[in-house]
Chain length 262, copies 2
DNA sequence: CCGCAACTTTGATCTGAATCAAATTTCGGG
DNA sequence: CCCGAAATTTGATTCAGATCAAAGTTGCGG
């Protein structure tokens, strides 16, 4: 899902990349990217798990013995501050992988934002597989680069001192997520609560509410029920987001041969 | 440099991890981690480059044909906003790798904050090597996980709505960086400008200046010349940083077998 | 050793968003 | 179909930090 196989990679990485990929998009319209062999192997070590809306998947500091791959639903990754408020680091969508650990412990907590179905892959099993399958390893690198860019983008978003800009960026982000999945990029669906959005954007829920309203008043979006927003003027939204915005593509058929930092 | 070889990895990854690593710390007291063979191979494809203070290393969007590994000096990775202000995504120190790309183009711009010496590794050459060396590939994964955690941490930092807390977190970050390199964790050296710090913390340079002063007034730090700060009360600093602060270790001998997102 | 330019501190004011406080809407379950 | 809890909107007030402005520092190049 991160590496397209319908287009030639730009530079020197042919076969290794073309073959690599973790899951084909589960049922979606995206190309299948795992080899049959890989899929078979996967089905042996992974198990399906379900979480209902609001369920805790794991807590920060829990022993990290598995990673998850979302089949359907939305998950939030967050940390709890001493004052009990949460700071959301990311929203995770179908096909996203999660379970970042350090020293064998999960670095963040995760909770289901909607009902969630996911594959659960025990780390021990994955490790063995990883080491034997260079292509898979390469794919993981691609994934990580993508995540790194996403995290950087989140940081850039949070660097903005303007509430409207943050919300605009957030909507752009949702647009891209949905577009990448073949859904309409105009009719945004917000599965999460205003409060969650606020925790993700580093502002108060009231400020989120007001910013959304302002966007609507300016005719940039229109509000359906509270979980859906239609983008009317993509250009203005972009202008507000202002961030020297690179149009991120949601794959890595690109040049993943990059470093780490920066 | 990211994987220690002086300690057993916690779980199931023995040899692959123990062998992996990109450079041994260049002259520092950290263990050498590349095999001789890897070092030799490296010296063939890499070249030394130097940049003087303030020099642009590359711009956002430049063709990404190499990655860099810092030998000495400090680099900032940033993006320029439409209004010409910069937003700094990361400061990079010796042993850090940088050059994140997407579609063959650098995602961020980088500039030398001090005089910088670095290895320049052409991507083409690295790629071939990477594909043949699973251990190296694994090491890159470790590196990326580390970077991902760093980026997340930056985002968490920026999520804080409190100027003092941000500066406190920034100082902690510097402490850890220096400690990881075997330097004093109390005598902080700030190679970058107040304005750079502000751009990194998402606040105005005046606010940075005032926050530093407040920290000094409270006896939490003392100020030497403007590029050095001594931490007097680590506990209070930590309390201010408040962030459900996980003590990040600057290596990845840990469980890098994690996912991407989250 | 001087002078200037870049950087930093300090001060005064203003503003956008946090906070506090209701009022209102939504929606799932009985 | 109605009820109540949770989510959201809206309003009033406050305040931290941005912005504007000016006065100190520092350190480099001549």
């Amino acid at each position: 899902m991160l590496i397209r196989d319908d287009e030639d990679p730009p530079a020197a990485h042919g076969p290794a990349i073309a073959a690599v990929a973790l899951w084909g998009a589960s049922g979606g319209r995206r190309a299948q990217l795992l080899t049959d062999e890989q899929r078979a192997r996967l089905s042996v070590i992974a198990s399906i798990v379900r979480f209902k809306n609001g369920a805790q998947i794991y807590r920060e500091g829990d022993r990290a013995d598995a990673i998850f791959n979302i089949v359907s639903g939305v998950v939030k990754s967050y940390r709890v501050l001493p004052d009990k408020t949460e700071r959301i680091g990311a929203f995770l969508f179908p096909d996203d992988l999660f379970g970042l650990a350090e020293e064998g412990r999960y670095v963040n907590a995760t909770k289901a934002v909607t009902a969630v179905t996911a594959y659960r892959i025990p780390v021990a099993a994955l490790e063995g597989w990883l080491r034997k399958d260079a292509a898979l390893e390469f794919h993981v690198i691609c994934k990580l680069c993508h995540e790194l860019r996403e995290a950087q983008r989140h940081a850039f978003l949070l660097g903005s001192r303007n509430a409207l800009a943050r919300v605009a960026m957030f909507f752009q982000l949702l647009q891209q997520h949905q577009a990448a999945r073949g859904e309409s990029a105009e009719d945004l669906h917000l599965p999460m609560t205003r409060s969650d959005v606020a925790d993700y954007l580093g502002m108060s829920l009231e400020a989120v509410s007001r910013s959304v309203r302002t966007l609507a008043d300016r005719g940039i979006v229109s509000l359906g029920n509270r979980r859906s927003v239609k983008v009317l003027n993509r250009g203005q939204l972009e202008a507000l987001a202002a961030l020297s915005g690179r149009e991120e593509k949601d794959d890595c058929s690109t040049d993943p041969l990059m470093s780490s930092n920066d």
